[in-house]
């Protein structure tokens, strides 16, 4: 009476373990449409409720990877290593990390996503650079990788199409928060990039996908285990997202911060997380023997301008205007820039990244819906950050807005998100845990 998907769903509903063939059939049905929406929704919920064994998660990941094109970069002799982050506010690490690691002799084939909700996306940040193109064909992506040592592209319909349908279905059915489904979603796409190694940046904190550290640790463990079972070297860092990363928040403002960082003017937290992730990538690639050596190599390349040179080369190859490296004003600027001034002296007692992320969305710098357009110029620049001293009337932050009304509304919220207190509060460790 009941069809095959119903049988599969009943098995998962009753806590059974699915076989490799059953999981492959399921993923085939996701892609060719023979699996109905109701069946997919029910399956995802059964996995949320009853979990998946490590073996099932590996099989799901591999089947999703194989649902589309799996890249191979045989023409690139270097080790290929990528980084993936679960996302946060102000997380522009990829833009700096890719040229940094490429400069050290590691190939970085980086396929990134767009922002959704309070979390920014690398593709949106890159889109703020005039002319820069991330809509690369698989062939062009490989050419750029070979030529520059790194390539930055947006998700393609050719890569892991099963994830595309599963992800959008999870979003509307309340089945996002499942470690096996998150693991398979992330790794299926990353494995299809043709990488030898992956460093995972799992963020925990108020503005992270995983607010609670124990959930973030569970995801780290799952990704490391499944990635390794799938034949890729994996390391993972648990990093802080209880505060924003860096000072520029909003697409063009974050690119500006990266351009400054390439010249050595980089906020400590951004530098620290970038170097920690980069050192892991060098280790995985086998181009460094230990973390301190890897880190020293990266710092040297950064200081000597090799990283900036690598960034410039990629910019030229991917169509971006290289003049932005010398003149960030070419990125453009929102018409209304308003300073938020401190109403009292003291220390910045908090910087709420979730509220700031929502402010940026409301300014037009992020998406409520996947189809929303993004304004590249709006956002917030933190003049002061957590624990810094401030005097009355001094600038706390700057709001970049499209209209005066939007600037005024955002300013109030930013001021509330950055209270000033009497005691100097210090940020906790940025890298809280490591698995490698």
């Amino acid at each position: 009476m009941q069809n095959h998907p119903a049988r599969l769903n009943r098995r998962k509903r009753d806590g059974g373990e699915l076989t490799r063939d059953e999981i492959r059939d399921f993923v085939t049905g996701v892609v060719d449409g023979s699996l109905g929406d109701a069946q997919l929704g029910a399956f995802l919920m059964a996995v949320c409720c009853n979990g998946m064994t490590p073996t099932e998660t590996v099989e799901l990941t591999l089947a999703m990877r194989d649902s589309g094109r799996v890249l191979r970069h045989d023409a690139v002799p270097r080790a290929k290593v990528d980084k993936h982050s679960t996302g946060g506010v102000g997380d522009k690490v990829s833009l700096l990390l890719a040229p940094l690691v490429a400069a050290a002799g590691v190939a970085v084939p980086m396929i990134s996503g767009r922002g959704l909700g309070h979390t920014g996306g690398t593709i949106d940040k890159l889109a703020a650079i005039p002319g820069y193109r991330t809509d690369l064909s698989c062939e062009r992506f490989q050419q750029v990788l070979q030529e520059c040592g790194y390539a930055m592209a947006g998700a393609s319909a050719e890569i892991a199409p099963a994830d595309r349908r599963m992800y959008s279905t999870r979003d509307v059915t309340g089945t996002v928060e499942s470690i096996p489904l998150i693991t398979a979603s992330i790794l299926s796409k990353k494995l299809a990039e043709g990488i030898d190694g992956l460093v995972m940046d799992v963020k925990a904190g108020r503005a992270a996908f995983m607010q609670r550290e124990e959930d973030a640790v569970a995801l780290m463990e799952s990704i490391v285990a499944v990635g390794r079972a799938a034949g890729v070297k994996v390391a993972a860092l648990l990093t802080d997202m209880d505060h924003p990363l860096g000072r520029g928040l909003g697409n063009a403002l974050e690119v500006t911060e990266i351009l400054q960082a390439l010249d050595g003017d980089c906020p400590d937290d951004l530098r620290e997380v970038t170097l920690a992730l980069g050192a892991e990538m060098l280790l995985l690639a086998g181009v460094a023997t230990d973390l301190p050596a890897a880190r020293a190599t990266l710092e040297q390349l950064w200081r000597d301008g090799v990283v900036k040179q690598c960034f410039r080369h990629n910019l030229e190859v991917q169509g971006g205007d290289p003049r932005v490296l010398d003149d960030a004003s070419l990125l453009g600027r929102a018409p209304h820039v308003v300073a938020i001034k401190a109403a009292r002296p003291g220390f910045v007692a908090d910087v709420d990244p979730l509220e700031l992320g929502h402010v940026i969305v409301d300014l037009g710098g992020g998406r409520r819906q996947p189809t929303d357009a993004v304004d590249p110029h709006v956002g917030v620049v933190l003049a002061k950050t957590l624990g810094e001293a401030i005097t009355t009337g001094e600038a706390l932050a700057f709001v970049h807005a499209r209209t005066a009304a939007a600037a005024a509304a955002a300013s109030k919220r930013v001021a509330a998100a950055m209270p000033i207190g009497d005691k100097r509060r210090r940020r906790g460790a940025l890298v809280k845990r490591r698995m490698a």
Copy 2:
């Protein structure tokens, strides 16, 4: 970011209890289509995995009842009581029970389903009577009830439309087996009939929806509790479906058995289950003070021909040819009737109802898919039943088939489903448990 249904799904996924308003919103979304298939599938699976509290089940039942028209029979002064069965093989009880109870002064507004799989449906059996119409409008249904004391109709799109979509979605998503969902599905439709009381026949055994007695008991308990909370008097019997009920299996063959039963020629098991359910209905309706008295009343009415008169009246009013009461051959007959003869002497050691149900489907007498047409004339008549003595060459059963080939194939299977042994095996209790 996430919409309302996703939030509801997450709550149920995480084991939370939904409010009355949330459940009403959900059911509204089921009916108006604003809830997508994926969201519905995920919700149903979350309920399968995490259950529902009694309060949630009551609210779901009431919201589903209120998703369509709720009948009121104010013009009928009698108490309105119906019976519902979870279904089985040879279960033609409704055809006899409705006139029996109506004859005793209880109004029986009976809306029934069609058969699916090995389980027969009352509507298909009634369709075997030439001219008999069950596609009554709500208005006509009420008229027939007033005129005859009972009315038999098929499910209408106006009654509990939410259940229609939920039921078909459950079928394809592997979310059928959930006590709260089964309870709400059954009761929402029955409560919309405008009844004061309901007797539930929950069958347990090989050919029952619930094979295991503990599952059947859990369903009884749920239906009794939820039905009462919804303001209806409820009694429930747990009856045996480890063997077929009666001797006629297949639509017209079952009607023939009913016509004989009206004249007093009724198999013991069919008589026993019908009287047990009927007595409960009289008690719920308040027209009898105890079960033995109720039973005596029913037996008297049956013996005196009042039940047959009541059946005849309804037959005339609902368009059926009343001449079938005197000449069952007017029901028609399959062209190939083959006797299965005993290969050895002994006693009938088993009558496997599940296999016989599948044989009937394969003969064309049931549905594999909801859209399948049903052949009214095919089926099996048991010449001997469990525990009865048989001699070599004596008829064990008769197969009624459309073709000689179908008859031959069915005969082999029926013979295998009715082995002959040396020891007389007796059937266990027909009514195994009562809740009232």
